[in-house]
Symmetry: D2
Subunit: 434 residues, 4 copies
């Protein structure tokens, strides 16, 4: 959790204060049901809520106790007893530490997902707005970094919109999977606690029950969660990479907003660097790196071992905090992106008409040339244009073998941008539904 890439809302989910509050709520809700079942006195449940609910837990004190007992949940319960008094002995009845820890982690990951939904919605909203704004701004599409054929900047953004929408759906599935509660006791057999306690706590904490737990909630759920974040991070990297490319000096079709007072370089005052999207590229790596240890966490020994715990203390906050930050930074970049439609046209035209080569190829084929002949005719007129020797159209007109198939007027009609944008509406309808 790197402070400069941390937003307070997400950090708060992972604070000690938030964690202990969730622990308390789990214990107190469990006490309610235990009281209903007659396992503990109703008055005890009430006291737990009243005294514990009003308590401000002292993290330093809990740490102090933990240093002695070397067990975090016991340390918390001991501290809780300092507030609740004698009735504290009715807390945690029949439960085991993992019941508290794992259910808490589910709550935290669920809340984190909810923040990430809001983040993704901001990204989606920005992408949609800018896509509509630039729906018909023609620019060259590039494959292999080489000019291919015209597209529009709006189509580019629509593609990213669709990708982030998929990311959101995956995150929804991941949230659904992780939103489970386990209050099943020592090895998950409900020996010392009635299954209805789990059901009660689940409802109260906004979760479902884990059908079968082995003291812990199975870690394939968590692995699915972190890999879902990793894929979203990779989508961020793709969009960041696109913008970095567009901002290159030689391309400069778009650039990150450069605020007044901002300095691009300590040495070269002229520089305006795509530092935000480069940063996003790095953040994507940071989020993504959490996938592997999450996968390694799945194969716990027998009913559980504690090797997953230290990993989750790291990747739980790190992956969610950095992704939250990255999505918001990305949204800002998209919202404020400075776009240069004229430069887009200039760049597109720099290849002397070569972007129309495929259409010429197809027209030659339609006019009777074999595919191989047509390919050869186009290539031999394209290569000089590529080297700056004449416009592609002029070269074609001057080629007798081409003329055998297509007249000058026919050739000219092929060099038409609207031909390439005629299906933009179809694409937008597919993506945005209207």
């Amino acid at each position: 959790m790197i402070p400069r890439y941390t937003r307070p809302e997400m950090a708060a989910i992972w604070s000690d204060a938030a964690k202990y509050r969730i622990w308390f709520e789990i214990e107190a809700h469990a006490a309610d049901r235990l009281a209903e079942l007659g396992v503990i006195p109703a008055s005890a449940a009430k006291t737990i809520w009243e005294k514990g609910g009003a308590a401000e837990f002292d993290v330093g004190r809990i740490d102090e106790i933990e240093r002695e007992v070397k067990h975090d949940v016991i340390a918390f319960l001991t501290h809780l007893a300092e507030f609740v008094g004698e009735d504290a002995r009715f807390v945690h009845q029949g439960m085991t530490s993992s019941d508290v820890l794992d259910t808490c982690l589910s709550v935290q990951l669920t809340r984190a997902a909810d923040l990430l939904f809001a983040d993704m919605d901001r990204v989606l909203s920005a992408l949609k707005k800018r896509a509509l704004e630039h729906k018909n701004d023609v620019c060259v599409g590039r494959s292999h970094g080489i000019h291919a054929e015209p597209t529009t900047f709006g189509v580019k953004l629509a593609g990213f919109y669709a990708e982030f929408e998929r990311g959101r759906q995956r995150l929804e599935a991941a949230r659904e999977e992780i939103a489970v509660c386990a209050i099943s006791g020592a090895v998950g057999t409900f020996a010392n606690i009635d299954p209805s306690v789990e059901e009660h706590v689940a409802v109260k904490m906004g979760l479902k029950v884990e059908p079968v737990s082995t003291q812990v909630i199975a870690r394939d759920r968590h692995a699915a969660y972190f890999t879902a974040l990793a894929v979203i991070a990779s989508s961020i990297e793709r969009l960041a990479t696109e913008i970095r490319h567009l901002q290159r000096t030689e391309v400069l079709e778009a650039e990150e907003f450069f605020s007044k007072g901002q300095k691009g370089s300590s040495a070269m005052p002229h520089k305006r660097n795509p530092v935000l999207t480069e940063n996003l590229t790095g953040l994507a790596r940071l989020v993504r790196m959490c996938a592997t240890p999450a996968l390694e966490n799945v194969a716990l020994w027998h009913e559980r071992d504690i090797s997953h715990s230290s990993v989750e203390r790291g990747i739980g906050p790190d992956a969610t905090v950095h992704l939250d930050f990255a999505l918001n930074r990305l949204a800002g970049v998209v919202e404020n992106l400075v776009v240069y439609p004229e430069r887009m046209l200039d760049n597109m035209n720099s290849l002397n008409g070569l972007i129309f080569s495929q259409r010429v190829l197809l027209a030659l084929t339609q006019a009777g040339a074999s595919r191989e002949e047509a390919y050869s005719l186009v290539q031999r007129n394209a290569m000089p244009a590529w080297r700056g020797e004449g416009l592609f159209l002029d070269n074609l007109k001057a080629d007798k073998d081409v003329a055998a198939h297509l007249s000058g007027a026919e050739l000219e009609s092929l060099f038409d941008l609207s031909y390439h944008t005629k299906n933009v509406d179809v694409i937008f309808k597919r993506v945005f539904g209207n």
Copy 2:
């Protein structure tokens, strides 16, 4: 694709023959629709199906052409033309290589998923059968590798069943995501091909259309697919690890079936090693390693670069083939697992009754002891039993401070296995629904 970990059905999906057949079908279906649109003659579409459909493509010949043109799709089309004749010029009209390559990969990954469903169903079926068989076979549950409390071997297996069921659901989502077709031309703008061609081919190939493609199908879909496989692989590792533990000499509660004639060691004839589950552990790593490059593949440059291709030539077959093999090997291991219920009981009882320690703790609390006092009373009687000094029950009976809370008869009543298995039905009902 390591031969010894390869099953023929899955390998066939990735064979050159299968690939070229899919390529052909994509081109031929596209030709059908192009003919309907009047872009190419109806007779040409017919000829393509007839002559191409009957063709046995010569992989060696295609390789030969590719060595010259250095482009695999062009090499294939050139070879196809050798069968189709003059009408071959109507093949691939307005399409680009990625239309063929990416749609083919979608078909392959979809078919691979279908095989994996069958594999998982076999695993699920085996787990369910064995879970029901051993539903009430009591064994000790272990946390941290240390005896905790009783559970049943059926409950263990039910947990794995639920986990593999989740894996299957994730794979279904991944299959759904990858089952998309893109026939959108050079930079995905449908400039040279009508969107209805894509729709037609999609239906025919059992896919949906990619709403917006950038020449390629976006690689976040593939990343989601490979990470779904990675999580399943990790679940395999968890079950394999469980069995490896159970087969340890000192535990020996279950072991892999050891066939007649099998040799465990070249040097030590007495050995019966859990080599299948160790192998599964390694295969899990092999499948899992494909997740990272799949994530790195997402951020292609602009409308596409070709860096993903070599990666997918590796991980496409490798991850699906090895996972297919692993799931089948795992199913066999579960089906044939030799289980030793008596040894389970012997092991469970080896700790002199300590597995009942929590129940005693709770009873002491119920009887008025504070949590801390109860913990201390239990611990001081448990530790000698742990060291083999007396049975835990006897130690408790002899402890005056315990006696102040619980009589001998009360203590004895706590040492009851059925207490721990009373909710097995609840768990099974949750997992298996009945």
Copy 3:
């Protein structure tokens, strides 16, 4: 950087205060050389050292400036100027931010390595001490978790000693590689700064010069560093896994020291869990996950982009801090490990003599049996012993086909532990040199 897995010495290396101090020293040393070259006044260099050296940099103030200029080095230089006054304009002459940032990172990683050397030495020392202590304590060696043949606990530990020694050597190579200084200006051409400045600063900071930098120090050096840490982490995992196995209830040949007052479980007071080594297993995953993003950082664009920076803000502290903690925790575990030599013997003997099966096999071969026959003879007498049906030796004696090759006395002579330990001295000499 998870607080509970952080030791103050290592954390201090990564503190803002330490970073700014290193930045200052780099700038001030550079100023010295620039003064010698006559580029800046000698008095300025003196002032920089005096006023800057006495300054207590205000991290909050620097953050405040950075929020405006959005550039960390410029923010620092602006703050430095608040101390140095007018001569501050002679600071950073001809340098670029990366000169400061990358050289600082080299210093930090070098210092981190030095702490890690001390950590590894503590681990090595503990391993050597315990290896010598248990040099001749016989225990069973296990392959596949199954009893194989006798070894000694000392030999086990000697193997780990050798492995950590290799890890130390790799870390030395990694430290050597990372200990480079770059003061080469904007794109590494020394246009605005003389190469002798770099040489001067390098010497003063305990580094060598980067032969050719591209504004940044090439990131393959950092990747090599983090992968070296990752391999060490994996060695930690191997030793932790060994101890976790040995502490299993059914094995219990060794266990982590369990301090007075420690509580193993909130629910089951009898538990003594190998929580430290489980924790080390998780920490190993955390350190190891840093390798992948470090590798992804290598391919910066052209002379540099800033994508590596956010990654390094994470993995720089995280990998070194967690490894530092893990090595110290590991050292403590080894130093205090409770070893049970008697239990080792009990376990070894539990297989009724099967551990001598290979020796019998060899003796049969020596006595004229074919390899296949010998294998078969051993196996048929071993399997009953494995099932607890008789001692292996007795079974062999009763087998007529065995008797055809070996007499009862000959058989008895094969069941001799000293046969297995006769080369322990050789191994110790190889590892410890005496």
Copy 4:
């Protein structure tokens, strides 16, 4: 091991034929020493060499045997016996399978490293040649993809040379580490085999002895090997990325050699795509992905488990074969790279002189401006030039506040390319030593 990315020399190392030949040699060398020790008859050792040495092992037959015995080394030994006859019972005396398997893997990885050295030398040689050729060809250096200051194309290549040289050194260290032999028997104790056999085989196979093995050679050695390959792969990615950038349509300072007959696109005949370097980018990911499972392989259970084996059957060939292919492809790309020095100059000058901004900044500071003032003066004259409004030099001349510090002639003298190349010799001397 993807056929299209496989070169025969490297593939041969991993063939079954090569493997069985190495197994045979290990067994035969061991027999020699065993004969010297009198453990087996001298005539047997001779027969083994003669009959086994002349044998052509039948892979199909070995597979057949393995299907029955389910053990690969036993299958091989059984097949070997079919050639050697009765003396075959003296083969493998006191050895265990891992002695053969692990020593063989060491030999294979060592030979693979030797091929990789040759590959790297080819890359280094190409880089040096081209670096010297373009030593003084000025091009713009770019940070963040944005023009920064002039450098030379030779300096760029020199940087890669230094990086690959480091990679070679790391590979040397990795080869040194992996070149170890273990012939230590069942659990590494030399119970059944004299340590001198290991020493003899080691010498004969070009290896050193593993000081202490645990039946297997410790897997940290292999992890170090594969991570060394991973870092080299990342360096390949960096160079490939550089070339891909340089070949972008808008940059086009260099491009991959485009052979006669090559087709860049099935749809767009004008395209010349950097497909080789894109392919190298993908291959880098494939090689790199092997690092994680190699790290996961380290923590084998006790003296060994077999989980590493399947992983190594994959990553052993895959990582070395793909890296071998990639290095050779890279060497070819560098050797044949088409470089456009004029375009380099055109691009560099496209920013209207802004590349000299830092020098102006420094000159203003030298002339008495404060750093902040100078930065502001430069920036306000740079931004219009950036937007194409006037040359940077003209803007500066027209700025009164600049004129207060620097005359027109002084300003002009700052716009001098040789200022930026004056230390190229220093850099080349550092890298190439002359």
